[in-house]
């Protein structure tokens, strides 16, 4: 899976939780889930569970704590996919 595909899948996963639709349209690697997309922090665990289901990976607590931006999330997902 290349980065483009991964980003597109991630975007689909987070879309329902996003409260700032404008920021979603202009999504970049540096977009922050809470600050920019205004995702409710309680919903971050739901995003993680959806990522696990989509990519068939398991994200541990340590990795999860890093997943606050698009860039960090893609890195975590790529790492987990690599060791699958």
């Amino acid at each position: 899976m290349n980065k483009e595909e991964l980003l597109s899948k991630l975007k689909t996963i987070i879309a329902p939780y996003v409260q700032n639709q404008e920021a979603l349209k202009n999504l970049t690697e540096n977009t922050d889930f809470i600050k920019d997309l205004e995702i409710n922090s309680a919903n971050l665990v739901d995003v993680i569970l959806d990522v696990e289901d989509e990519f068939d990976i398991e994200i541990d607590n340590e990795a999860m704590e890093k997943m606050l931006t698009v860039k960090a999330s893609i890195e975590v997902i790529e790492n987990k996919l690599a060791i699958k």
């Binding site: 329902p16 939780y17 309680a42 919903n43 665990v45 739901d46 569970l49």
Partner: protein
């Protein structure tokens, strides 16, 4: 300090025989039952395989919840409560505020017995499998009792009291009186009051196990709920929600909104599980006290009561309830007020019963009718000896009641009685 006058300005209902106020209004006047066969209860070998279950299409929920709230939603009581609550709010002519400032004078008192049972079941399986990390963020908010008041309070932006009360089958009537007290004392202007009850085998199973549900009517569900009948054999479990917007008269007049009825007062008490009262049976003296003090608190005489909407569940306790009304009011025979029980049409909606039945009571005051009791053609002889047959109509009557008393009684030997008046 004199009490402020308190009125009802909005209604909402999700009942087994009607999932909005206009359908419900028609169903109770037509005597349409909402009790049906439940396949799941049959598969699970319940003795009683029927129940009062509200029916609506899944996409109806899109009118009330956003897509995030709907994800993994497995709390039927939350669905019923939110639909009824939002409907009542809109019915009162109130808008859903998107302002950053909460409505400091508006609150929510919305009771339940237990919430999100299906969600809790899912969580228990995951926890027991060692998979707690997969619960997601909504297990807590869907299973906490106050989930229903929290959801409604957030949707509406209420900034006054937002709480959930719980007193078994008197929950709904108690919520109305809590709202009444708070508004009468000047602590709030508007309160969305009501109650909700989950549906399904995990809620109803405990009652089936107590052998207090009818088991001989699985092939004819609409005949099963028989309050005041000689052949009553237990209550049919039900579910749903009722909601009322309760408001100071002053505020309602200022808004120029429709007023359904006035709340004159009421009383809640307990029999202390003494003198015949127990966890599951009422202390008769306490029931009478509750009615008498509700009348006193309302500043009326017992003769002023034109009709009663009883608790009357269709168990052996119906006769005792009628006797308690007779004693408390000092009235019997042809002097007794009209009396009816909504449970003949929808079953016993448990924590939701008091609020759904109050919605029915207020519709009677507003639209000048007394709905008929079905399934009591064979009146119980003890009841027959106390109350004139004509006072227990089997068909809906045109009747302009001025004052109707509504009572609910619950496990734990708790009672609630509220007095409604035509406005």
């Amino acid at each position: 300090m004199s009490k402020r006058r308190v009125v009802i300005t909005g209604l909402g209902v999700v009942s087994p025989n009607g999932t909005n106020v206009s359908d419900f209004n028609k169903a109770i006047q037509d005597g349409t039952s909402g009790i049906r066969s439940i396949e799941k209860l049959k598969q699970l070998k319940f003795s009683c395989q029927i129940a009062g279950l509200p029916i609506y299409k899944l996409d109806h929920l899109n009118n009330y919840f956003n897509s995030i709230q709907l994800r993994g939603l497995q709390a039927s009581g939350m669905e019923y409560g939110v639909i009824a609550g939002i409907d009542a709010w809109k019915d009162a002519g109130l808008s859903i505020s998107d302002s950053d400032t909460p409505l400091w004078d508006a609150g929510v008192i919305f009771g339940t017995g237990i919430l999100g049972v299906d969600k809790f079941r899912e969580a228990i399986y995951k926890v027991d499998e060692g998979n707690v990390r997969r619960l997601g963020s909504t297990t807590v908010t869907q299973t906490m009792a106050s989930g229903i008041s929290a959801f409604l309070g957030g949707m509406l932006g209420c900034g006054n009291v937002v709480t959930t009360n719980s007193s078994a089958c008197s929950t709904g009537t108690e919520a109305i009186l809590m709202a009444y007290d708070r508004i009468a004392s000047g602590s709030a202007e508007i309160i969305l009051a009501g109650s909700t009850s989950d549906s399904g085998p995990y809620v109803w199973g405990g009652f089936d196990a107590m052998r207090i549900l009818p088991y001989k009517y699985n092939d004819c569900p609409t005949k099963a709920s028989r309050p005041m009948s000689a052949s009553a054999s237990g209550f049919v479990p039900g579910s749903g929600a009722g909601a009322l917007v309760i408001e100071s008269l002053e505020n309602a007049q200022k808004r120029g909104t429709t007023i359904y009825a006035e709340i004159l007062g009421g009383h809640v008490n307990s029999g202390g599980q003494r003198n015949g009262g127990s966890m599951t049976a009422p202390n008769n003296e306490a029931v009478q006290q509750c009615i008498i003090r509700a009348i006193e608190n309302s500043g009326i005489q017992s003769n002023d009561i034109d009709a009663i909407n009883g608790h009357l569940t269709a168990t052996i306790k119906d006769s005792a309830e009628i006797q308690n009304w007779c004693k408390a009011l000092g009235r019997q025979g042809t002097d007794f007020p009209y009396i009816n029980s909504l449970k003949s049409l929808v079953g016993h909606c448990l924590a939701a019963s008091g609020s759904i039945e109050s919605v029915a009571t207020i519709l009677q005051l507003k639209e000048n009718f007394i709905f008929g009791n079905i399934n009591c053609e064979d009146l119980h002889p003890e009841i027959q000896s106390l109350v004139d047959r004509d006072k227990i109509p089997t068909k809906t009557l045109d009747f302009s009641a001025n004052i109707i008393a509504k009572a609910s009684f619950g496990f734990g030997d708790v009672n609630a009685c509220v007095i409604f008046k035509k406005y």
